[in-house]
């Protein structure tokens, strides 16, 4: 059992994408989640998927700054995973779990709703990126995701100079934004 300080430290590590902290969270919590899912018609692969999703929920929660740990980290993760797995079972039209454990759970519905909404936006961005095609996609990814500088990009993509690359990047950006916002505004 870890102290609140230790767990808060782990969460900070998770927000910084720190391998050591994430590994510790896995070591401490995964087996409990796995046994819950296997007891309820799942396989280890399902447990890995669900756990990964829960880590992302937690990551976003911590990142947004609105998260203070009001219970054991294990309890929180367990509650999220349980909810995610029930949803997955429901989607597959399977029956509700045959085994409900007596483990303590905390309400996580709001957190998951927030996560789902965010995830949808995420999909808009991914599909918009997929639609603009090459070389636009790679160009924008190099600049915005990999944080490369314009001269580096000019060289990698074969533009004569950084200004040319910049003009091209601007054109791509406008197209991406147009597609993204068209989808985003259409969603309601």
């Amino acid at each position: 059992m870890k102290t609140i300080e230790q767990e808060t430290f782990l969460l900070k590590g998770l927000a910084a994408n720190d391998t050591e902290a994430i590994e510790t969270i896995y070591r401490d919590n995964f087996s409990a989640i796995k046994s819950y899912i296997i007891k309820n018609n799942g396989y280890t692969d399902d447990a890995l998927d669900v756990f990964q999703e829960a880590m992302i929920v937690l990551f976003e929660k911590v990142k947004s700054g609105s998260f203070t740990l009001s219970c054991q980290l294990q309890t929180y993760l367990y509650s999220i995973c349980r909810r995610l797995w029930l949803k997955k079972l429901q989607k597959q039209n399977r029956f509700n779990p045959s085994v409900e454990t007596i483990e303590e759970i905390v309400p996580v519905e709001d957190d998951l709703e927030f996560h789902e909404k965010k995830n949808n936006d995420f999909l808009f961005m991914e599909s918009a990126l997929a639609k603009i095609g090459e070389p636009c996609k790679s160009l924008l990814e190099a600049f915005y995701l990999e944080k490369k500088t314009m001269p580096e990009i000019a060289e990698a993509f074969g533009y004569t100079n950084a200004d040319n690359a910049k003009t091209q990047k601007y054109k791509c950006l406008v197209r991406l934004k147009k597609i993204f916002f068209a989808q985003y505004k259409n969603k309601d």
Binding site: N17, E23, R27, F30, G42, T44, M55, E126, L145
Partner: protein, 369 residues
């Protein structure tokens, strides 16, 4: 101000790359022009989304690496354990269950053996029949021939050079990978020298079997005809998890020359004499239905029709689709051929007629001699 300059300025402003004067100027510009302010807000939101995506990608990447590391270390024992490790894992997990089951099995078999030997005089032996149609008769050949001649005459693109093929059995198969890999039953193809598959339109392709397992009764065929073009968008997916009792199911198959639809339900989670690799389903099938897909209402393939009990009514057995995955793994291992099962399901939520419309192009007649 031109838009590209504005966007550039916004990005520099956000990243804190502006000097003091520029920053003050920019902030003034923003507060005096609601239009510009709106563009700034919109772009800031857009950039935040992009950043979020990049962060999440990195996180996922990291999570996957950690998972792999822990699996290799054995901290997470799981599906990726292979060979001995897997057996040890399964043994550890189930040894108590196995012990109890073995004890019960012992008792039951002993007691039933005594009872049977004492009381049974005329026991009935159940027989299962594979559902291959061996009765393709002369009449059907003729009909086929005429049909094909008509087809050839109607469409000049049809390769009329196809040699005449006299089949002596007919069954069903369906695509598992659009590159031309089909699934059918091992008993369908076991003695066949030549194999031909035919789609709904009547196009025929030569095929060869690349895998056959008489225990699971699964076979995988590959279309070797050059006239076959890759198809994409297989509408169904293959489920790994189990189906539930009473789930409605349906199938498409070739008990006749024409494709035939049938529907029913899942009646037991195990097959002939408690065989856990298959289901018992209730559906009307006939010789020729062998190798057809058993699909649930969401368009997921849960099994493959294989046989029916001869002296019982409406007892049909279907191999669980989980076995397909193990077959594909074996093929990968033995022949280094990667067969990808479809990942997206486009049948979900459609009504049955539309589902069948989408589906029937992917279910083939399997013939051979």
């Amino acid at each position: 101000m031109e838009e590209n300059l504005l966007l550039d300025a916004i990005e520099r402003y956000r990243n804190g790359q502006m000097d003091k004067h520029e920053k003050i100027f920019f902030e003034e510009l923003k507060s005096n022009n609601p239009e510009i302010d709106e563009v700034v807000a919109e772009h800031a939101f857009f950039l935040a989304e992009l950043e979020r995506m990049s962060e999440q990608k990195q996180l996922r990447h990291n999570l996957n690496e950690i998972e792999n590391k822990l699996i290799n270390e054995g901290v997470i024992s799981g599906s990726k354990a292979k060979g001995k490790a897997k057996i040890v894992y399964l043994w550890n997990r189930y040894r108590r269950t196995i012990a109890v089951a073995a004890a019960i099995a012992c008792l039951v078999s002993l007691s039933t053996a005594t009872i049977i030997s004492k009381y049974s005089e005329n026991k009935k032996v159940a027989v299962i029949t594979p559902l291959v149609d061996h009765k393709l008769n002369q009449f059907e050949y003729k009909l086929n021939e005429i049909e094909h001649k008509l087809n050839d005459a109607a469409t000049t693109t049809h390769p009329s050079s196809k040699p005449k093929f006299e089949a002596n059995f007919r069954a069903t198969g369906f695509l598992v990978d659009g590159k031309g890999y089909l699934i059918t039953n091992a008993h369908v193809v076991q003695n066949a020298k030549n194999l031909v598959v035919e789609n709904k339109k009547g196009d025929q392709f030569y095929a060869e079997q690349i895998y056959s397992n008489s225990v699971t009764d699964l076979a995988i065929l590959k279309i070797i005809d050059t006239s076959f073009t890759k198809v994409s968008d297989l509408p169904y997916t293959f489920t790994k998890s189990g189906a539930e009792l009473a789930e409605p199911i349906f199938t498409l198959g070739y008990p006749r020359e024409e494709v035939v639809y049938g529907e029913g339900y899942l009646s037991a989670k195990s097959g002939y004499y408690g065989d856990t690799t298959s289901y018992q389903i209730s559906i009307s099938v006939n010789p020729g239905n062998s190798g057809g897909p058993v699909i649930d209402k969401n368009g997921e393939v849960i099994g493959i029709i294989s046989s029916k009990e001869t002296n019982a009514d409406g007892v049909v057995f279907a191999i669980k689709s989980k076995n397909i995955y193990s077959a594909l793994k074996e093929i990968k291992k033995d022949k280094d051929i990667t067969i990808k099962t479809p990942t997206t399901n486009s049948l979900k939520g459609l009504d049955r007629v539309k589902q069948i419309k989408k589906l029937e192009d992917f279910v083939y007649k399997v013939k051979g001699n």
